[in-house]
Symmetry: C2
Subunit: 82 residues, 2 copies
Amino acid sequence: MADEEATTTDQQLRLFIERVERMEEEKKGVADDIRDVYSEAKSQGYDTKTMRELIKLRKMAANDRQEREMLLETYKAAIGLV
Amino acid sequence: MADEEATTTDQQLRLFIERVERMEEEKKGVADDIRDVYSEAKSQGYDTKTMRELIKLRKMAANDRQEREMLLETYKAAIGLV
């Protein structure tokens, strides 16, 4: 009975590991796709370093906006403004 | 005409940026999913640090195997063994 239990646990661990590995593969696939887009842009004459910088700036702006919205929501909730 | 050309180029750059941003979002989504799996595993009593170590070891083993296979293929091709 203990053996059977251990096997179930081993099996569960294996499933967790395999799930993560599949997702890591998926993430790697997307990362490769991103690299391909940069390659394509580069082949069309775009400077990819500047593009990466641009994306970083847009992301920062988006985060700032989200933070401001979240703060506003928090303050609105605090004073019961719905 | 020059204006129109500039607009097309601007549009193309915008499309490249948006494609990368969508993919970055996708990558972030997968990364979040991976974190969720680790959380689930942790809640079932697994040590996630050890799990990460295990995945690293399996990956290294896989890379080694792939490298060995690639070398073998190269050497086989070199001596005309098909």
